[in-house]
């Protein structure tokens, strides 16, 4: 017999064999090392040894992955056979986890679609930034507002290589007509600076871009139309450049057509026509602005105190800090150092969707994550009880020489397979639900549906969630299952449920109940919040109201004759059958009025740095009685408040209480430049229908006859269903002012429903998630109690043989179930409190720590828990002692 000393290097080779799966390694390591040592010994010279090493290492790198793949395939095959033996359990786990993962993935795909969308047609969108003031930075680029002079300063101050462009904050609905048309056609219009197209890299497909508007050159009445509008409106006519088209009755020459696929920088609101900023007053643009002591009748572009522009810059990323510094220096020199400027990324453009749905979606995402956690706890419990039931099988395998690591791998393969199935189900569910959700969300925002495709980010997220689920619900039960005392497992005949395992199972159920309490309470809060919104005291009588949007500036009447037209329209509409009253207002009930700042208030000098902001509306005499806004003090505006009479105003309760705390508002004076307007009455606070949750702000109502303002809204109170009176009202308006265009006509109930649609959707979704959580927690409790009962059949049999009544057994089982619910509630209560704190801004009229909602949630959860425990408890109580003892 010969003994060899291991040659140098064989230890290193042996170490390299760690790359193989354990089973292969255990089988062949010694042999392979011996062969390597033999060859090493027989090798002649360094070159031969080097070649040996090379062959050994490459061979290893080629073969080890193959062996791993083979082992994994074998484990998966075993796992598949093992799962097929218990189809019910497999299906249950796949469904439970599929729901958890699916809900999570669906919400993630919407969030992803919302944040991932960029201004796709624009080259290098990452270089785009929106200039915002610190004051509005929180609202994102959509909230920014700058004045014309401010834009000019920024444009002049911009360092070389940096381009700056401005655009109107709003997209206006205008009416266009070509030379050969008699009727006008609506279009969407945005005012932009000349640099706009070059900044966004949108070279015209036809014609040219807007002319240079630097240094106040005389503005041209020219327009660039979008590619889509060119196709739709002009049938893609090649000679469209040079044609004349009226926009709100002013003639514009079309100078160019935008590039294909470019519809502006608002993601969901495509623009048809772009005109120069200087044409603001010509096209009668008057929306989405803030002003402070400005003359809104004069062109806005030159006024420093009308903030109506978004300013966007293209800045190479390396220079953004420099540019921010330059801009801020400009700002301080022109407008004082009160508010700094910030540059916000603009590659994602403006989005109504983001504005409306980001917050609710984030809340929903947290809720779906909780549902996934509950589902994981549930599945962990199912896998754990399955592992316990297989203790004998595992004991036998171990006794026959299987390694614990082999068994662990096998059990993990089972969980991996389950999770893979669940993930496939989840992706299908997410694909379907996210599409439906996107359509529902789009319907609430009057926008084109958001495409929420299952892209690589969603797939990555689903895979990550699946791995986390695997970690949470697969690894622990598998690890636990292989910690088996072989002798005990074999001796107990597979019924050796340890006390520790059942403790873990109970802990998991407690966790599910605690998390469900958070979700069910959240659902309760959403439902109550929505109920409060639905039945909120609006401060008006919203039933029987019809809201008509008009634009008298387009009626063809001379401005001096407009008041007479208003009177004609009011008289004609009021006299129409089924109409009780009608009244004009600058702002409709579904919009927040433009705010004008820094009012002076009699007897209350402004504090240092304070800006006194009021919501302003300008209304005709019968306004308060028409909309049903009760007068709480003084009188309403009436026909005596004419242009020549002293200027008067009615204020709302909030204004009166804020600025005249002693109830002395009547008779006091307010005004922008001078204290020239007398308060003659106080009305109840009213909420804007598009923001019912918003806090009432100080509001002032001026007399239409005394203000140079054009009303844009006609509100009509009808006797019966306002929808049925729409045609009568349209005819009455047509008779009194034949050329007055009617932009829209909706009932106020419809406006209200639209204002609540987002909250309705969010409430519906959270209710769905709450019910899902409740179902999962109930199912978990059912499983644990059923399992406990089946384990203790013989114990119950003995007790009953010794004289215990079925009722006492029932009571005992139910006591255990209740104990789990109570512990779950105790653990869940602080979680509810923490979650409430985080979500406090989402609820209206209900505290996030509302104890009634929490009690109700607890009650519902207990009821579900008790219902789910009744069946196993009943089974325990109906055990036949003879059969139970015979089994033993």
């Amino acid at each position: 017999m010969t003994r060899h000393r291991p040659p140098p290097g064989s230890r290193a080779f042996r170490a390299l064999l760690a790359l193989y799966p354990a089973a292969f390694r255990d089988e062949y390591r010694r042999e392979m090392t011996l062969v390597f040592a033999d060859r090493y010994r027989d090798a002649d010279g360094a070159a031969e040894r080097a070649r040996l090493w090379f062959e050994a290492v490459t061979g290893l790198l080629m073969e080890a992955p193959k062996e791993h793949g083979r082992m994994i395939a074998r484990d998966l095959r075993y796992a598949w056979h093992s799962l097929r033996r218990q189809p019910m359990l497999t299906a249950t786990i796949v469904i439970v986890l599929g729901f958890g993962l699916g809900a999570n993935t669906a919400i993630f795909s919407l969030l992803n679609a919302m944040t991932a969308r960029t201004l796709g047609s624009i080259p290098h969108p990452d270089e785009l930034v929106a200039v915002n003031t610190r004051e509005y930075a929180l609202g994102g680029p959509e909230g920014s507002r700058l004045s014309g002079p401010m834009f000019e300063h920024l444009r002049d101050a911009a360092p070389a290589g940096v381009r700056v462009a401005a655009m109107s904050r709003g997209i206006a609905h205008v009416y266009t007509r070509t030379a050969d048309e008699r009727e006008t056609t609506p279009a969407s219009l945005q005012l932009v600076s000349s640099d706009f197209f070059s900044l966004v890299g949108a070279a015209p497909a036809l014609g040219r871009s807007l002319p240079d508007d630097r240094h106040n050159q005389a503005p041209d009445a020219v327009a660039v139309i979008s590619y889509g509008y060119w196709q739709r409106r002009f049938g893609g006519a090649a000679d469209v450049v040079g044609r004349v088209m009226t926009i709100n009755n002013v003639a514009f020459t079309i100078v160019g057509v935008g590039p294909r696929a470019f519809t502006g920088v608002w993601l969901e609101a495509p623009v048809d026509v772009w005109v120069p900023l200087a044409m603001q007053s010509a096209v009668k643009y008057s929306q989405n602005f803030s002003a402070d002591g400005a003359d809104l009748g004069r062109p806005w572009l030159t006024q420093p105190n009308v903030w109506w522009l978004h300013v966007v810059a293209r800045v190479p990323s390396s220079r953004s800090a420099v540019v921010a510094g330059v801009f801020n220096a400009t700002r301080s020199s022109t407008a004082g150092a009160d508010a700094g400027l910030v540059l916000q990324p603009f590659s994602h453009g403006f989005s109504q969707f983001r504005q409306r749905f980001m917050l609710p979606l984030q809340a929903l995402f947290v809720m779906t994550a909780l549902v996934l956690l509950i589902a994981c706890a549930n599945v962990a419990n199912l896998l754990l009880s399955r592992a316990i039931a297989r203790q004998r099988e595992i004991g036998v395998r171990l006794a026959l020489g299987a390694g614990r690591s082999d068994l662990l791998r096998l059990l993990l393969a089972e969980s991996a397979l389950l999770i893979a199935f669940a993930t496939i189900a989840a992706l299908a569910l997410a694909h379907w639900t996210s599409g439906a959700l996107a359509r529902a969300a789009a319907a609430t925002a009057d926008a084109a549906p958001l495409a929420a495709p299952i892209d690589w980010r969603v797939l990555g997220f689903a895979a990550l969630s699946a791995c986390l689920s695997m970690l949470l619900c697969g690894v622990f039960p598998a690890w636990r299952a292989t910690r088996v005392n072989v002798l005990a497992a074999l001796r107990s005949g597979g019924r050796g449920a340890t006390i520790r395992s059942s403790r873990i199972a109970r802990a998991l159920v407690v966790a599910q109940i605690a998390l469900s309490l958070v979700l069910v309470t959240g659902t309760g809060l959403f439902v109550r919040s929505f109920h409060n919104l639905q039945y909120a005291d609006l401060g008006i009588d919203a039933s029987h109201l019809l809201s008509v949007r008009i634009d008298p500036r387009l009626s063809g009447e001379e401005p001096s004759r407009l008041p007479a037209m208003y009177a004609r329209v009011i008289d004609a509409v009021s006299a129409a059958p089924g109409v009780r009253a009608a009244s004009f207002a600058m702002c409709g009930l579904d919009s927040s009025c433009a705010t004008q700042g820094s009012y002076a208030v009699e007897g209350r000098p402004p504090r240092k740095g304070e800006s006194v902001d009021f919501r302003v509306n300008v209304v005709s005499p019968a306004y308060f009685s028409t909309v049903g806004m009760p007068i709480v003090a003084g009188r309403a505006l009436d026909a005596h408040d004419t242009a020549t009479a002293p200027r008067v105003a009615v204020v709302n309760k909030t204004l009166a209480e804020t600025y005249f705390p002693n109830g002395a508002a009547i008779g006091r004076r307010v005004g922008l430049d001078a204290l020239d307007t007398e308060i003659i009455g106080v009305v109840e606070d009213a909420r804007a229908l598009n923001n019912i949750a918003g806090l009432p702000a100080p509001a002032i109502f001026m007399a239409l006859a005394q203000q140079p303002i054009v009303p844009r809204s006609l509100t009509v109170r009808t006797v019966g269903d306002p929808g049925l009176s729409a045609e009568t009202v349209r005819m009455a308006i047509g008779a009194a002012a034949p050329l007055l265009p009617i932009e829209s006509m909706t009932t106020v109930d419809e406006q209200l429903a639209r204002g609540l649609s987002r909250d309705r959707l969010a409430t519906l979704l959270t209710t769905g998630l709450g019910v899902l959580a409740l179902g999962l927690a109930g199912f978990g409790l059912f499983g644990v109690i059923s399992y406990a009962v089946s384990r203790r059949t013989s114990e119950f049999g003995v007790r009953m043989a010794l004289g215990a009544s079925p009722a006492s057994i029932l009571r005992q089982v139910m006591r255990e179930a209740l104990a789990l619910i109570v512990v779950g509630a105790v653990v869940g209560a602080p979680l509810v409190w923490i979650a409430g704190r985080a979500a406090s801004t989402l609820f209206f009229g209900v505290s996030p720590h509302d104890w009634i909602t929490m009690m109700a949630a607890l009650f519902v959860l207990s009821l579900a828990g008790i219902a789910c425990s009744l069946r196993p408890a009943w089974r325990a109580a109906s055990i036949d002692p003879v059969i139970a003892l015979r089994q033993e």
């Binding site: 017999m1 042999e31 011996l34 062969v35 062959e55 290893l60 073969e63």
Partner: protein, 124 residues
Amino acid sequence: MPPRDRRPAPSPESFLPLPRDTFHILVSLADRDRHGYSVMQDVRDRTDGALRLSPSSLYASIRRLLERGLIEELAERPDPEHDDERRRYYRLTTLGRAVATAEARRLQRLLADARATGLLPKKA
């Protein structure tokens, strides 16, 4: 006890064609039982060093051959005088021999075809 396999025994032809390494290992075990290193040396010598099996490819093939029942591991050492007691010896099974023979015949037919078409001279 493992469940009895009711499937019919596989035919030697169902294994064909054999991978190169596999066939060489079977050929090397045809005349005598060998341990791993001996197989490796034999293959190297017979191919004049053209085919040098690495420990990894050798044992991956051995594992597959064992699994398919073409070779078996010997319980006793055939030549305890000259060998390390730790080495494992392998032997062709009946099936293994049949498979190796079938592969050799297949190659023979291929060779005959090559001769018939003039690719190779008629007589070596």
